[in-house]
């Protein structure tokens, strides 16, 4: 039996008085890729941002229900969101490297958390993270050049390297390929396959094909509700809910 890393129980999210998510109950298996699909504004990104409490930074945003990681409630008062975010990394829609060198980008996380003792150790960690992100061989000669000088796909892999530099257990990806060309997208997807051996990955995507390619489990959100969740294969060949069917075949926005 597959162990569940994340358990969401009746999670509702409100932006001021507007309900953005309606009692989502969803289990996310460990060291597998789960994709969240659904039309824009369906709440999938909101749900994703609940997992590392990114929504805390948005004014007027509140949450009810419980999200458990390894059976521990992440919204407990005793848990500092900083600590949570060190365990739950995030990759964003638009590649957002810091306007610093490639090295500085990857080294930033370990630095603020004090993960390394010496600069040699830090160098090693940076190199290792870049290798894991499949970027090292491409940029090893220009590791001190600005991260923004890389191509879009490389920037996104740099962001992934930055996220895994602090060895999180979970990586959240919010439409990581939406700004990339197909080749760069393929490289990221290859990387996601690779990373799934060591990390629990939750990915929000607008590309049904991408969800079908990279994930084992797919959840379909619509208007703040979780309509259907199941094995990716069956969702895309024979969804059980009519709304899912209509969405993935392009009949509803």
């Amino acid at each position: 039996m597959q162990k569940n890393k994340i358990e969401a129980k009746k999670v509702s999210v409100f932006y001021n008085d507007k309900k953005a998510l309606n009692e989502i109950t969803l289990s996310i298996p460990e060291k597998k890729v789960t994709s969240l699909i659904g039309p824009s504004g369906c709440g999938k990104s909101t749900f994703l941002r609940c997992i590392n409490r990114m929504n805390d930074t948005i004014e007027g945003c509140s949450m009810t229900g419980r999200i458990l990681i390894d059976n521990k409630d992440i919204n407990e008062k005793s848990l500092d969101p900083v600590l949570l975010r060190a365990r739950v990394g995030m990759v964003f829609q638009k590649p957002n490297p810091f306007p610093k060198s490639i090295f500085e980008n990857v080294a930033y996380g370990p630095k603020i958390h004090g993960l390394t003792q010496s600069s040699d150790e830090l160098n090693e960690l940076v190199e290792e993270s870049l290798k894991k992100a499949g970027l090292f061989s491409e940029i090893k000669d220009r590791i001190h050049e600005p991260g923004t000088s890389l191509s879009g796909g490389q920037q996104q892999r740099l962001c992934i390297a930055r996220a895994i530099s602090i060895s999180p257990e979970i990586i959240l990806m919010d439409e990581p390929c939406s700004a990339l060309d197909p080749i760069a997208t393929a490289k990221i997807e290859e990387l996601i396959d690779e990373l799934a051996h060591n990390f629990t990955i939750v990915i929000v995507t607008h590309s049904m094909q991408q969800a079908a390619r990279v994930s084992k489990q797919t959840a379909f959100f619509h208007m703040g509700n979780l309509i259907e969740v199941g094995k990716t294969d069956s969702i895309f060949s024979n969804p059980s809910e009519k709304k899912t069917q209509d969405y993935i075949t392009g009949k509803i926005g």
Partner: protein, 218 residues
């Protein structure tokens, strides 16, 4: 009323592949009908026509495959749309083979010089009409996306198989009684086999229709 895709040309493409395939199926139905009729009324010219029209079916099948490939690359269909394309590919191939069998029947009949006077069996016509009816059911289940009709097809096929057995035994009898008929009856036995194959392939079509409607392969 059926739900529409947001992209209307997508609907048009799906409609086109279905109507093209159904038209092809109707042409083949006519071919089966004609080739069965040849057994009653020997007509070499008609037989040649049927054999020739098989090329047309081959061409149609290629058109449908191209259209399907085109939809796959353009739309990357999922769920029921994907199944529609998948079964269209399979059914078009199946129908093409049915057309081959019909052409084979016509081919066999063109070797027959005359129907012996002593040949009295009705079983081969019975087999032919049943096969034709079952094929018609199969393609109408496709046309109407009807699992109800599709489920009838395998039952009819069992009947066809038993009639085929009867037909086979009858022809053996005839051949044993009258050695003159051996040449003709051998052709008839081959034709019966072709008809039985058409019956089997109709069952294949009905299975595809069931997969499309129910979403799972059984």
């Amino acid at each position: 009323m059926r739900e529409q895709h947001i992209v209307t040309t997508y609907d048009e493409d799906l409609d086109k592949i279905k109507s093209d395939l159904f038209k092809m199926a109707l042409i083949v139905e006519k071919q089966i009908y004609d080739s069965i009729n040849l057994i009653k009324i020997l007509d070499i010219k008609k037989a040649k026509e049927i054999i020739k029209s098989d090329d047309k079916i081959d061409k149609k099948e290629k058109e449908i495959r191209n259209l399907a490939t085109n939809i796959l690359t353009k739309r990357q269909p999922l769920a029921d749309d994907l199944r529609k394309i998948l079964i269209a590919l399979k059914i078009s191939g199946t129908i093409e083979r049915i057309a081959d069998h019909a052409a084979n029947i016509a081919g066999r009949m063109s070797y027959v010089n005359n129907i012996p006077d002593s040949y009295l069996t009705d079983s081969i016509f019975h087999l032919g009409s049943l096969v034709l009816a079952n094929y018609a059911k199969a393609i109408s289940s496709y046309d109407k996306d009807s699992s109800k009709i599709a489920k009838v097809v395998p039952n009819l096929d069992r009947e066809i198989n038993s009639i085929y057995e009867t037909c086979f035994r009858e022809h053996l009898h005839i051949m044993m009684e009258d050695r003159e008929t051996i040449g003709f009856c051998t052709q008839m036995l081959f034709i019966a086999k072709e008809l039985e194959r058409i019956g089997d392939l109709s069952k294949v079509i009905s299975k595809e229709v069931l997969y499309n409607v129910e979403g799972v392969l059984k």
